[in-house]
């Protein structure tokens, strides 16, 4: 091995060592703020710890066994599924549509892209308050507008379907820009030559999008769906502010139900077991979609 190549390898090694040192603070932060609390939550999920009654020292799977027969938990899974599936689908479809539209825009109008990021920058509690007002007939300018024409807009927040719809709308409004950003970045990475070649072959714009652009967007679409789906499992501020879990208990998603059990009922052990299940679901989906993504990329 020549002297130069040894020197080069030495330099690479030093560089890699430098990189490793640079990520040490991040690893430390993740350990301290993610792994330690997660381990604590896992430990609590096997305990019978209660905020008021304390603990009788019972350790085991009792919380997990209780989940199997808890009707409210099963209903919360249904609510989460509805919110996540319809919410994420809406965000990805709208995000993709807006991204495709913005991608075609050239010149100074490109600055208008920033406008679409505004909903993403608004804190979730503020978003929830905005939509609570819009869905409250006595406060809503939408209702006031339709009233002018004698049209009565239904009260969404007093039925389960309407309340779920309201949460999905608020969640979509604030989160579609994330999907839009990722898809826009992916669109910019696709060579225009492919579209031009398709056009030369006589393909319409719709066919070009469906058969050329969309397949190339698949990895980005999968990634954005994964991120949004995992995030959607954590539904809380919209429910807390807009419906408070109502009407009745019909919009109590699983994450909200974990809060109810932990902080309203004081049943910390049981609440932790719900949170652990949510974490495992998110981890499982991440693993599955990451593998899928790898396969698609290949």
């Amino acid at each position: 091995m020549s002297q130069t190549s040894i020197k080069r390898r030495g330099a690479t090694y030093e560089l890699e060592r430098g990189y490793r040192r640079m990520i040490l603070p991040a690893i430390f932060a993740i350990l301290l703020f993610a792994i330690v609390p997660l381990a604590g939550m896992l430990a609590l999920s096997f305990s019978d710890y209660h905020l008021i009654r304390g603990s009788k020292g019972e350790i085991g799977l009792h919380n997990y066994l209780r989940l199997l027969g808890d009707r409210r938990f099963i209903e919360s899974v249904y609510v989460t599924a509805v919110l996540s599936i319809f919410g994420v689908a809406a965000q990805v479809v709208i995000g993709t549509a807006v991204a495709v539209g913005l991608h075609k825009i050239v010149g100074r109008w490109r600055l208008g892209r920033a406008l679409f990021l505004v909903p993403y920058a608004v804190p979730h509690v503020a978003v929830a308050l905005i939509w609570l007002s819009l869905f409250t007939p006595t406060l809503s300018p939408i209702n006031a507008f339709f009233d002018l024409f004698g049209i009565t807009v239904p009260a969404f927040l007093t039925t389960q379907g309407g309340a779920l719809f309201a949460i999905i709308v608020a969640d979509t409004w604030t989160n579609f820009p994330f999907a839009m950003l990722i898809i826009l970045a992916a669109l910019q990475g696709i060579s225009r030559d492919l579209e031009e070649a398709a056009a030369l072959d006589g393909a319409t714009q719709v066919r070009t999008f469906l058969h050329v652009t969309l397949p190339l967007l698949t990895p980005a679409l999968l990634m954005v769906t994964l991120f949004r789906f995992i995030d959607s499992l954590k539904h809380f501020p919209m429910i807390f502010v807009i419906t408070k879990g109502g009407p009745g208990r019909s919009t109590q998603a699983t994450n909200f139900y974990a809060y109810v059990q932990t902080f309203q009922s004081g049943d910390v052990g049981y609440g932790a077991s719900i949170a652990v299940l949510l974490f495992l679901t998110a981890a499982l989906i991440s693993f599955y979609v990451a593998r899928l993504n790898q396969r698609v990329s290949q």
Binding site: P137, T138, A155, L157, Q160, T243, P247, G248, S250, G266
Partner: protein
């Protein structure tokens, strides 16, 4: 309320707005007022120490039917999800003719600086029922844990915190007047401050304070859980997800489960 509501309810204005959103501090601040006025109660004998749930009674059922009727027939659309913010806004904007609210909210409804309809808004004690009048009272308890290492110092702090002098200072410096000592309402500075908001306010506030019961919402550690559960079921009945009978039966059963009975 049921007599007057149909007379004042029309397409322009709804008769009433009440808190209906589920929660121990939301609908469970208002509903117990109606429940107690009809003779309903949470437990068989709270004062005597018998905490057997007794919410599933004909009296509470009658009260719940009144509450449901008021909200579904005489409140604005969407009122089944109203909380104090929506109730307050509806009253301040003149969208409803009357409401029943906490004193902190009432001051904002009758204050000319806060409400455009303040000059034509009157205040009165909440209406009574067959079992009398039971105003809600928005106060909080201060307790000393059994494990406290400085119980005497804590007791001295509580004495200072709830003394008429301290409470008078709070009544003067804060926008709310949820004092628990009637003598505070006789302080000239307090009188002057609240007379500006509404001339009858302090007198009625003191009357309500004397009529109210300390355990308006039961003073037990399990109350947050009980109140949340009952509030959710009451809200389900208001919005037609359950019948009033089923809601009260479920509420009583859940109260038993929570209390381990």
């Amino acid at each position: 309320m049921l007599e007057i509501a149909p007379k004042v309810h029309n397409d322009e204005h709804a008769a009433i707005a009440l808190r209906a959103a589920p929660g121990q501090g939301f609908n469970m601040f208002i509903f117990p007022m109606i429940m107690r006025a009809y003779g309903g109660k949470f437990f068989k004998d709270y004062v005597g120490g018998d905490l057997t749930p007794a919410i599933n009674s004909p009296e509470t059922l009658e009260a719940l039917r009144v509450y449901i009727r008021l909200i579904n027939e005489f409140a604005p659309p969407g009122a089944g999800n109203f909380n104090f913010a929506e109730v307050k806004a509806a009253a301040q904007n003149g969208q409803v003719v009357f409401t029943v609210e906490g004193t902190g909210v009432v001051t904002q409804i009758v204050d000319p600086a806060e409400s455009q309809y303040a000059s034509v808004t009157g205040i009165a004690l909440p209406p009574g029922g067959p079992a009398g009048r039971s105003p809600a009272i928005a106060v909080h308890g201060l307790g000393i844990p059994a494990t406290s290492r400085h119980a005497e110092a804590a007791a001295r702090f509580i004495e200072w915190a709830v003394s008429p002098e301290t409470v008078t200072k709070i009544a003067l410096s804060e926008p709310f007047s949820d004092f628990t000592t009637a003598s505070v309402a006789r302080d000239p500075a307090v009188l002057a401050k609240y007379a500006k908001i509404h001339p009858d306010y302090l007198r009625l506030r003191t009357e309500a304070l004397n009529l109210a019961i300390g355990h308006y919402r039961p003073l037990i550690p399990e109350w947050p859980e009980l109140g949340a559960a009952v509030g959710e079921l009451i809200n389900a009945a208001v919005n037609g997800l359950m019948s009033p009978e089923a809601a009260l039966a479920a509420a009583e059963q859940e109260m038993r489960d929570i209390l381990g009975q």
